[in-house]
Subunit: 82 residues, 2 copies
């Protein structure tokens, strides 16, 4: 079995209003050291497969089909054997 | 300057309806190998400080004050010098 971590981020060229709003709040509170804030998704799950290669193929398929909107989002993932 | 990555997750004891819904959709599509899905936030930003210790203190403060609801969420972060 594997613990899977998926990181979903908006593509560089896509505006991120949520990240911009959070950054503005921080600047307003005098945390002016913070810039280029982007907010994405962090997805964890258990994957019940034996082989790493099969697991990676499956996670990639799941990301493309359901978890990620590949028009505006990028993703990467890690598999940790447990 | 540092690139900061913050991972925000719901606490173990807190139900995650979004993760549950995504998992149900996957099961429905026959991806029954997926379990315990949890969906959190993945936040990236640039932090303009010189010292790592100062950066870590600042990120921790920012997380507690704005980015994380510490009643129901946990967080961890990484600083990468650039």
């Amino acid at each position: 079995m594997y613990k899977v971590k998926v990181f979903v981020t908006l593509k560089e060229a896509v505006l991120d209003p949520q990240g911009k709003a959070a950054q503005n709040s921080l600047h307003y509170a005098n945390y002016i050291q913070v810039n280029n804030m982007r907010i994405g998704k962090y997805i964890e799950f258990d994957l019940d497969v034996e082989e790493r290669a099969e697991g990676e193929r499956l996670v990639d398929e799941i990301c493309q089909k359901l978890l990620v909107n590949t028009v505006v989002e990028d993703y990467r993932f890690e598999l940790l054997e447990v």
